[in-house]
């Protein structure tokens, strides 16, 4: 199980790729060189920090610390969902709906996997809990932000249709039903594609990592299958909850479509 350790020099060599890409962006006037360098720097610092944090966390496997870490991850994911919306809900709703639905789905799915499927002792063992939660949360975040973005776009674009249906006496659930279904479907597409292509087109990152670390491929595959299913469950249920809550919020107590509850035009 010998992993070849990477030195700072090795990483610097890889960083040359980013520099080369930045100079290409400058040359072609793509205008993304600043964003590229900034995000590369961010990812370096964030990952180095999380490495240190995880080192401390693994040394003190305390439920309180694990929960604090998980809560922090959830809040950042919630902020990210909000930031990716073109027309998000006004007020604290934009943050609360994404965060709440991620909490419900990702946490439930991860705890289920830890306690009932993998059976770690203690159930919150950080070596398992934090990476699993991270993977489920990251994918759920993508699904929810895609779905919510589609929902608000649909509601804005199909305003006349939705209001026609309301005017004919339909309930709000029926009036926005098509858009709601479409939004949930869009949120599920990435994980469905990922599952369909897994192993043939792409070798998923987690499995690759385990194999690089020396785990026998068949073991790594088993874990990857588990993670795929957890992600699908977390994304699916999280997206359904988020879209349902947001759709409800688009209507007021008299079932009027309230696009003024969305930011920006």
């Amino acid at each position: 199980m010998n992993v070849i350790a990477l030195s700072a020099v090795d990483l610097s060599l890889a960083a040359l790729l980013i520099l080369a890409l930045a100079s290409l962006s400058r040359h072609l006037r793509l205008g993304v060189e600043r964003q590229l360098l900034l995000s590369a720097a961010r990812s370096t610092i964030q990952l180095l920090l999380i490495g240190l944090v995880l080192k401390v966390l693994f040394a003190n496997a305390d439920l309180l610390w694990v929960a604090t870490m998980a809560g922090l991850m959830l809040l950042v994911a919630g902020r990210e969902v909000m930031a990716r919306q073109k027309r998000r809900l006004r007020g604290s709703w934009g943050f609360a709906i994404g965060t709440l639905s991620m909490f419900v789905s990702s946490f439930a799915v991860t705890v289920l996997a830890l306690a009932c499927i993998i059976g770690t002792t203690p159930w919150y063992a950080p070596q398992y809990a934090i990476p699993l939660l991270g993977m489920v949360l990251g994918n759920t975040m993508n699904g929810i932000s895609l779905a919510l973005d589609r929902l608000t776009q649909e509601a804005t674009g199909k305003r006349a249709i939705i209001e026609t249906r309301l005017a004919l006496g339909q309930e709000w659930q029926q009036a926005i039903g098509d858009s709601r279904r479409e939004a949930i479907r869009v949120g599920l597409i990435p994980i469905i594609n990922a599952m369909a292509a897994a192993g043939i087109v792409s070798l998923p990152g987690m499995m690759t990592g385990q194999i690089l670390a020396g785990t026998p491929p068949v073991e790594a595959v088993n874990y990857q299958i588990l993670v795929m299913f957890l992600i699908a469950g977390g994304t699916g249920f999280g997206t359904a909850v988020a879209v349902s809550l947001a759709a409800r919020r688009l209507f007021d107590e008299r079932q009027r479509l309230r696009l003024d509850r969305l930011h920006g035009q």
Partner: protein, 254 residues
């Protein structure tokens, strides 16, 4: 005659009520069209028509929405009231507020039942707004008609008997406007809010729509609130006419 018609149409609608577009059973607004209450209220069957006064159907009390009101108005059962006024005077906003599609102040009563006390969907099924432009969500026209319509309605608007099988995309604007009117009539609303219902129609179709609406108003009986740009049309169809200006209604001479 009316009695028979209503029995037939409610029987046709019952099996499909769960589709969600028809009114739920026991609806107070719909009860007005059931044979029993008809007898009690108008005495048409028992012949005491004079003894029972016709109550005001739609009553706006200090209704105010963006740029419009506060204003008050009564529209009686079987009556047609026209609203005229320049573009941008808020005619459409007024109708949207009455259909409770926009937030508003003041109250709207149907048979003295306040709008705010009824479920929103039930209110809109009884007080139905027909928008100036028709909008369709399914591919086929018939998919928008979960309840049956009167057998002769298509023919009376010069639409082919197979019109319900048409795809929305192949219909002309005028055909869609007439079909949207039938879609609104399908729910047998007690009040129809008509936003230029003949805006895209030629003279001949306009007359057909006017005749059908006049017939519906008397048979149902229903109250019509009709926005029209055409003075002659307003004179033809309405008992009373108002001009909406600066958010207020002023009566126009007949």
């Amino acid at each position: 005659m009316i009695h028979d018609n209503k029995l037939a149409r409610s029987a046709a609608c019952v099996p499909k009520r769960h589709a969600g577009q028809c009114l739920p059973p026991g609806d107070p607004c719909r009860d007005a069209s059931s044979p029993d209450s008809e007898v009690g209220r108008y005495g048409q069957i028992t012949g005491h028509r004079q003894a029972v006064p016709i109550t005001t159907m739609l009553r706006l009390a200090q209704l105010a929405t963006r740029h419009v009101g506060p204003l008050s108005l009564h529209v009686g059962l079987g009556e047609c009231v026209c609203i005229q006024g320049a573009s941008g005077s808020g005619k459409t906003l007024l109708l949207r507020a009455i259909a409770d599609l926009d937030p508003h102040q003041g109250e709207i009563y149907l048979d003295e039942q306040p709008c705010s006390a009824q479920p929103a969907a039930r209110w809109r099924a009884a007080v139905t707004l027909l928008m100036a432009e028709s909008h369709w969500w399914a591919e086929r026209i018939g998919d928008h008609f979960p309840c049956s319509i009167e057998a002769d309605w298509l023919a009376r608007l010069a639409l082919a008997p197979e019109a319900l099988d048409w795809s929305v995309a192949r219909c002309s604007t005028g055909e869609r406007q007439r079909l949207a009117l039938l879609r609104a009539l399908m729910g047998r609303p007690t009040v129809l809010l008509l936003d230029e219902p003949t805006g895209n129609l030629d003279e001949q179709s306009t007359r057909l729509v006017e005749a059908l609406l006049d017939d519906y108003r008397q048979r149902q009986p229903a109250a019509l609130l009709w926005i029209s740009h055409d003075d002659r049309q307003a004179a033809r169809v309405a008992e009373r006419r108002y001009r909406l200006h600066d958010g207020q209604l002023t009566p126009l001479p007949r």
